[in-house]
C-alpha cells in the first residue's frame, strides 16, 4: 500500500507547468504574472486500542496564477495542474482582472530583490516507510502509553509522513522550487477517576524521520500528561503570575507576529500599529527570524514573492525593531519588504534562560498553564481572554491540577510583564521558545 513519488521528476514537471502558465499569461496580455504550484504526497495511519483504525493515502496538488493588467489584479487556482486546466486558470484570472479596481500598490516585488542564491536547506528527507511499518510504529507508541497504570483507554496514536514540492515563478524570470518533507507521530490517551475523564496527548515532528523521538517516549509522555490532569480543581479568582508552558509560549510569539504582520498594520487592525522602536518587551529579550537554517521546519531561501529571505530581528533588546512585510504590504506602508510574504520562518529568541524550578520559585503563587482553549485573542486591541487548564503553584511548587478557568489580560501588558523565559525549549515547530513567566494576569475560576 505505498505510492511511488519521484520528487525530482515532480519538481521538474511543476517547473515546466509554471513556466507554461507564465508564458500563456503574457500571451493573453498580462503585464506581469506569478504562479505558485505544489504537489504533496503522504501516508497517515491511526491505530486505537491496539488495532488499525484508518489508513489514508494522500496526494494533493494545486496551481495558482495571479495576473496583473496595469494596476489591476486577478487570481485563479485549481487542484488540477494538467495543461488544459492551466489554460482555464490563466483565462479565468485574466477575466477577473477586468473587474477589479486599480490598486497603486499592486504588482510583483522589485526584480532586484529576487533570490539569486537558492541553497539546498536540507529539508527533504523522504521516509521509505511501508504502511505496515507505519502501523507498527503507531502501535508501539500507543502501547507504551496504554501500558501506564491509570490509563483507561486510548483515543488513538497516529503516524503521518509526507513529502512534497513547491514552485514559485514570476515574470521577472524568477523560478524557485523546493522539495520538503515532514513526519510526525502522536498519541492521545484517556484517564478516568471519580470526577470524570481527562485526555491529553503528545507528539514529535521533524523534517528527518531520524530526528523523531522514539515512539515509546511519545506514548509514555502522553500518559504522564494525561494522568497528571486527574483531580483538577478550579483555582480561586484573582490576579496572579501565569507561567505558559513552552508549547503555549509559541502561541504568544505567534500573536506578536500576527500584530507586526504588514496586512494587519495597513488595515489598522493591529494593537502594534505605529509602535516601531518602542520598548514592548524587557531589555533582555530579543526575537530573530532565521529563514535559511539547515533542516529548519519553515526554512526557505525565497519568500512568497520570490524575494530572498534574510535574517530579521523583530525585537532587539526589547524594542520593536522591524515589522514583518511582503512586497505588497511594504508598498502600502511606504516601507521595504522584509522577505516575509507567506509569513515568518524559524523564530528564535535571545534571553537569559532559567530552569522550570527557578521560574516556579520566582512565581511563588500562581498558575502554570499547560492547555489553552478558544480563540479569545483580539489582534486589534491586544485584549486576551482564553480558557485554560494547568497546575496550581504555591510556595514555588506545583500543588495540584486546575481546570475550567480563564486567564485574561492584554498582550501589550503581558509582553511588558514578561519576567522570565525557561530553558525547556520546544523545538518541534518553527517557533522555538521555552516557558514564559508573565508577572500578572486575571485568573477567573471559582
Amino acid at each position: 500500500m505505498t505510492q511511488a513519488f519521484d520528487a525530482v521528476a515532480q519538481q521538474s514537471l511543476l517547473e515546466t507547468r509554471a513556466e507554461a502558465a507564465l508564458a500563456l499569461a503574457r500571451r493573453l496580455g498580462a503585464d506581469a504574472c506569478e504562479v505558485g504550484a505544489s504537489v504533496d504526497q503522504g501516508v497517515g495511519v491511526n491505530v486505537r486500542e491496539g488495532e488499525v483504525e484508518t489508513v489514508e493515502l494522500s496526494r494533493d496538488q494545486g496551481i495558482a496564477v495571479t495576473v496583473y493588467v496595469g494596476q489591476r489584479k486577478g487570481s485563479a487556482s485549481s487542484t488540477d495542474a494538467s495543461e488544459a486546466s492551466i489554460r482555464d486558470v490563466v483565462e479565468k484570472a485574466m477575466a477577473i482582472a477586468r473587474y477589479t479596481g486599480e490598486d497603486p500598490a499592486s504588482g510583483l516585488a522589485p526584480a532586484e530583490l529576487m533570490a539569486r542564491e537558492l541553497p539546498d536547506l536540507d529539508v527533504h528527507h523522504p521516509w521509505a516507510l511501508s504502511t505496515e511499518e507505519a502501523v507498527e510504529l503507531a502501535l508501539a507508541c500507543e502501547s507504551a502509553g496504554r501500558g501506564q497504570a491509570g490509563i483507561k483507554s486510548s483515543d488513538g496514536a497516529g503516524l503521518s509522513s509526507g513529502e512534497g514540492v513547491r514552485v514559485y515563478a514570476n515574470s521577472h524570470g524568477f523560478l524557485g522550487s523546493q522539495r520538503g518533507s515532514r513526519h510526525s507521530l502522536s498519541c492521545m490517551l484517556i484517564a478516568e477517576d471519580e470526577h470524570g475523564m481527562q485526555r491529553d496527548y503528545d507528539y514529535t515532528s521533524a523534517r528527518d524521520p531520524r530526528e523523531l523521538l522514539a515512539p515509546e517516549a511519545v506514548g509514555e509522555s502522553a500518559a504522564r500528561r494525561t494522568l497528571r490532569r486527574l483531580g483538577g480543581q478550579r483555582p480561586a479568582t484573582g490576579r496572579m503570575p501565569v507561567l505558559f508552558d513552552p508549547s503555549l509560549a509559541t502561541g504568544l510569539v505567534g500573536s506578536f507576529l500576527g500584530a507586526i504582520a504588514g496586512g494587519a498594520l495597513y488595515r489598522q487592525s493591529s494593537f502594534l500599529c505605529d509602535r516601531l522602536g518602542d520598548a514592548l518587551f524587557p531589555e533582555w529579550f530579543s526575537l530573530q527570524e532565521k529563514p535559511q537554517l539547515m533542516r529548519g521546519m519553515a526554512s526557505s531561501a525565497f519568500d512568497g514573492d520570490g524575494v530572498a529571505t534574510r535574517d530579521n530581528v523583530f525585537v532587539d533588546q526589547g524594542r520593536l525593531a522591524s515589522y514583518m512585510l511582503s512586497a505588497y504590504s511594504a508598498r502600502r506602508l511606504g516601507m521595504e519588504t522584509t522577505g516575509n510574504a507567506g509569513g515568518a520562518r524559524n523564530l528564535r529568541l535571545t534571553a537569559p534562560l532559567e530552569s522550570r524550578e527557578a521560574l516556579l520559585a520566582r512565581m511563588d503563587r500562581g498558575v502554570l498553564v499547560t492547555e489553552l482553549m478558544g480563540q479569545g485573542v483580539n489582534g486589534v486591541t491586544g485584549d486576551y481572554s482564553r480558557g485554560a487548564a494547568g497546575f496550581w503553584v504555591e510556595n514555588g511548587r506545583i500543588q495540584h491540577p486546575v481546570e475550567e478557568f480563564t486567564i485574561a489580560g492584554n498582550l501589550a501588558t503581558m509582553f511588558q510583564g514578561l519576567i522570565g523565559v525557561g530553558d525547556d525549549i520546544d523545538t518541534r515547530g518553527s517557533i522555538h521558545t521555552g516557558s514564559w513567566l508573565i508577572d500578572e494576569m486575571t485568573v477567573a475560576g471559582s
Binding site: 486577478g74 477589479t100 499592486s106 475523564m197 481527562q198 489598522q268 478557568f405
Partner: protein, 484 residues
C-alpha cells in the same frame, strides 16, 4: 424516487463523470476495486466545486479569485477499519488505483458484491443552482461598494472597511456498495463586512455577515450589504465604549441566534456518534439520562430550507433529518454516519460530512439549535441582579472528554439590578457541558437562527454549519474578564 432526483443525478453525472469517460453504470465496476477481500462496505464520493471570492478594501475591489477543485474519494471499511485514498482525476484508472489502495486495509476475507443501485429518496432543501450565475461581475463589485459606502456614511469614526462576497457551486455524487446512489447540487453564498472604528486613540473592530444555500442575488434583494455594514459599524461603536469585563462566576444571559454556538460546543460535539462509540465523550453511555435542565430541547436539523448548515443528502448519500438530541433535558439521540451507526447498532441520521473528496467523512453537525421556551426575554434580563448579557460571539472550542467548553463573546453587556448597563470588552466564557446545561433556568420564546456564518472544525476538516437558540439564562458560568 422523487421527481427532482433524476434531473439532479443527470446534472451530477454530466458534471462529474462524463468528462472522464464514465457513466453511472461504470461505477459498479469502479466500486468493485474498493470492495476487495474482507471489505464489508465501500463508497465513492465524486465532487467538483467552483469557488469565487471578491474582496473590497479601501473602497475598491482589489482582490478577486476563482478556484476549481474536484476529484473522487474512495473509502473501504472492514469492521472498525477504514482505508482511504483519493485522486483529482475522475477516470476508471484512478478508480482502480485508489480503490485497490483503500481496500488494502485488509488482505483476506470474504469478497462482497456491489448491491444494485437504489437512489436515495430525499427532498431538496435548496435549489440545485449555480449561485454565482445571475449577477454580473459588475453587480457583485457594486454590492461590495454599497457595503463600503453605507459603513463609511454610518459614523465618522469608521476608518477601515473591508467586505467580501463569496460563492460556491458544488456538485457531489455518492455511490456505495450498499446500493446507495445519491446526487446533490449545493450552492453556498456569503457576504461579510468588517470595520475598524477609531476614537480618541482607541481602536475596535466590528463585523457582520451571513448567507446560505441560495443564489447570490438574494443577498442583494434582501439588502444584505446595507444591513451587514450597519451592523458591523454598530458593533464597533459599542466596543469603543466597552469597559473591562468582570472575572468570576456569575449568571449569564445569552441572546437569541448566533449565541447558540453554546449548544454546538457544550452539547453538539459530545453527541457525535464517533466519540460515543469510542467512549471518549463526557456524554458516553448516558442515553436516556438527564443531561440538561427540564425545558431544554436541542435538535440537529439538516432539513431547514436554504440554510448554511443544511444538506439534502449527507456525504454518504443518506437523506438528512431533524434529530432530537436532548428532549426536555433527557438525552435522546446521537448524530451518526454509517460506520458509527452500524457499530453502535443504530440508524444513520444523515450527519456524515466531509470537507471535500480528499477528506474522510465523519459524524458532524448541520444546524443545531434549542427550541423556544415560554419566557419573555425582558423578564430574563430583569431576573439578574449582577451578571453578563452576551449577544455576539467570535468562536468556541470543546474538550469532549472532560466536557469543558469555551466560547468568546465579541459583544456583551453588564446586567445590574435587572437592567442592561455598560458594554464590556470581549471575554471568554468557560464551563462544563453537562453542568452548564443543567443550569439553564429560563428559556425565551424568541428562537432565532444565526445569519449563516458558521464554520465548524473537527480533526482539521472545516464544514459550514448553523446554530440557533432563544434568549437563555444560565444561573452560573465563569466569565473570563480582567476585573476580579
Amino acid at each position: 424516487m422523487t421527481s427532482h432526483t433524476q434531473p439532479l443525478l443527470d446534472q451530477a453525472a454530466e458534471a462529474l463523470l462524463t468528462p472522464g469517460g464514465l457513466d453511472l453504470d461504470a461505477l459498479d465496476a469502479g466500486l468493485g476495486h474498493a470492495l476487495g477481500a474482507g471489505i464489508d462496505y465501500a463508497d465513492l464520493y465524486f465532487q467538483r466545486s467552483w469557488h469565487e471570492a471578491w474582496v473590497l478594501e479601501d473602497g475598491e475591489v482589489k482582490e478577486a479569485s476563482y478556484n476549481i477543485d474536484g476529484g473522487v474519494g474512495v473509502r473501504s471499511l472492514a469492521g472498525e477499519k477504514t482505508g482511504f485514498a483519493y485522486s483529482n482525476q475522475i477516470t476508471m484508472e484512478a478508480l482502480a488505483e485508489t480503490g485497490r489502495t483503500a481496500a488494502g486495509i485488509v488482505r483476506s476475507g470474504q469478497r462482497q458484491a456491489v448491491a444494485p443501485r437504489v437512489v436515495t429518496a430525499s427532498t431538496s432543501r435548496y435549489a440545485g443552482i449555480d449561485p454565482l450565475a445571475g449577477l454580473s461581475a459588475d453587480e457583485k463589485v457594486a454590492m461590495l461598494k454599497e457595503a463600503d459606502r453605507v459603513a463609511r456614511a454610518a459614523d465618522p469614526s469608521v476608518s477601515q472597511v473591508s467586505a467580501s462576497l463569496t460563492g460556491v457551486y458544488e456538485v457531489v455524487l455518492v455511490r456505495a456498495s450498499d446500493g446507495t446512489l445519491a446526487a446533490d447540487v449545493r450552492p453556498l453564498v456569503r457576504l461579510n463586512v468588517s470595520v475598524i472604528a477609531v476614537r480618541d486613540g482607541r481602536r475596535e473592530r466590528g463585523s457582520a455577515g451571513g448567507g446560505g444555500r441560495h443564489p447570490m442575488v438574494r443577498l442583494r434583494d434582501e439588502h444584505a450589504p446595507e444591513r451587514f455594514a450597519k451592523e458591523a459599524v454598530r458593533q464597533a461603536l459599542v466596543n469603543l465604549d466597552a469597559v473591562d469585563a468582570p472575572a468570576g462566576q456569575m449568571p449569564v444571559v445569552l441572546g437569541a441566534g448566533w449565541p447558540g454556538i453554546l449548544l454546538h460546543e457544550a452539547v453538539g460535539h459530545g453527541l457525535e456518534g464517533d466519540f460515543n462509540r469510542k467512549g471518549s465523550s463526557a456524554f458516553a453511555g448516558r442515553m436516556g439520562e438527564r443531561v440538561a435542565a427540564p425545558g431544554v430541547t436541542v435538535v440537529d436539523d439538516g432539513t431547514l430550507a436554504d440554510r448554511r448548515g443544511s444538506l439534502s443528502v449527507d456525504d454518504e448519500g443518506t437523506a438528512t433529518q431533524c434529530t432530537t438530541l436532548i428532549e426536555d433535558g433527557i438525552l435522546t439521540g446521537y448524530m451518526q454516519d454509517k460506520l458509527n451507526a452500524r457499530l453502535m447498532g443504530m440508524a444513520p441520521t444523515g450527519n456524515a460530512r466531509r470537507e471535500s473528496f480528499a477528506h474522510m467523512p465523519m459524524p458532524r453537525m448541520t444546524n443545531t439549535y434549542m427550541r423556544a421556551g415560554q419566557d419573555d426575554p425582558a423578564d430574563i434580563i430583569k431576573s439578574v441582579s449582577r451578571g453578563i448579557y452576551a449577544v455576539s460571539f467570535g468562536g468556541g472550542q470543546v474538550d469532549i472528554t472532560s466536557g469543558k467548553f469555551v466560547f468568546s463573546a465579541s459583544e456583551a453587556y453588564l446586567i445590574e439590578d435587572g437592567r442592561i448597563t455598560a458594554p464590556v470588552k470581549g471575554a471568554t466564557l468557560i464551563g462544563n457541558g453537562p453542568e452548564a446545561m443543567g443550569r439553564v433556568s429560563m428559556i425565551g420564546h424568541d428562537l432565532a437562527l444565526d445569519t449563516g456564518i458558521g464554520v465548524c472544525g473537527k480533526e482539521g476538516q472545516g464544514v459550514p454549519v448553523g446554530v440557533g437558540q432563544p434568549t437563555l439564562k444560565l444561573d452560573e458560568l465563569t466569565v473570563g474578564g480582567t476585573q476580579s
